[in-house]
């Protein structure tokens, strides 16, 4: 059973980072996924390519994006990474720009990420948790927030 709390740790969290544009933000957070062994570099290229083709299909709510592509585009194992930005960037979404919280998803098949995604939904549906994550400066704060919300 995939647990978001296990997959987000010091190695897969980068907070208050700087990115000049959405592509830089996707590469920055995507690198965490690659370095943690969840995906190959081509997975990140696929997200960027799909974004150019389809638009920012993964911007879920005001300020929040969940960049991801398909399992066959280079996923090694299911994993998540979290990137927050000091200054938000425009993704070109008609309603939810600008974005400053990016939760990256690599899912190895249709089922393995379901539990973790529902945890993402639980956490980010909570306005207080959302605000705390946005302002967090250390990975330990994120772990605390997740601990409080997911049992």
């Amino acid at each position: 059973m995939s647990n978001l709390r296990d997959m987000l740790n010091q190695r897969t969290i980068l907070l208050q980072a700087e990115a000049a544009n959405w592509e830089e933000a996707v590469r920055l957070g995507g690198k965490l996924l690659v370095d943690s062994g969840a995906a190959e570099p081509r997975y990140i290229e696929s997200i960027i390519k799909c974004t150019h083709e389809l638009g920012p299909y993964y911007v879920l709510a005001p300020g929040l994006a969940m960049p991801h592509s398909r399992p066959e585009d280079g996923v090694i194992q299911t994993g998540f990474s979290l990137l927050t930005l000091k200054m938000p960037v425009e993704f070109g979404h008609p309603d939810n720009d600008p974005v400053d919280i990016l939760i990256f998803l690599a899912a190895s098949d249709d089922n393995s990420h379901i539990e973790a995604i529902s945890q993402v939904v639980t956490v980010f549906s909570d306005d207080e948790a959302f605000a705390k994550i946005r302002q967090a400066k250390e990975a330990g704060e994120i772990s605390q927030i997740l601990e409080q919300m997911i049992d």
Partner: protein, 94 residues
């Protein structure tokens, strides 16, 4: 029973979130619905088989359905159940 599909860019991830949220809202409103989820590409070819297509507002332009039955509902905030509820009622589904 209403035939519903949640569509997103890749057929997993966001369409899963939409499906999760609309399931909750339909249940709350007491509307009986079968809810599928797929990529926008697949949904586009099968759209006329469904009563309702839910997707992000950034993808509604991908659907060009010319029948009187299928409604395409664009969602701004995929995490907002109140938005889903309002749009369900707005579109006469309740």
């Amino acid at each position: 029973m209403l035939k519903v599909v949640a569509a997103c860019g890749n057929g997993m991830g966001s369409s899963q979130i939409i499906k999760m949220k609309i399931e909750k809202v339909f249940k709350k409103l007491g509307i009986s619905a079968s809810i599928d989820h797929m990529s926008v590409g697949e949904a586009r070819t099968m759209a006329s088989n469904f009563d309702v297509v839910f997707c992000s507002t950034s993808l509604t332009g991908q659907f060009t359905i010319r029948n009187n039955r299928t409604k395409v509902i664009g969602l701004i905030n995929l995490l907002s159940e109140s938005e889903i509820e309002a749009k369900i009622i707005e579109n006469g589904l309740k």
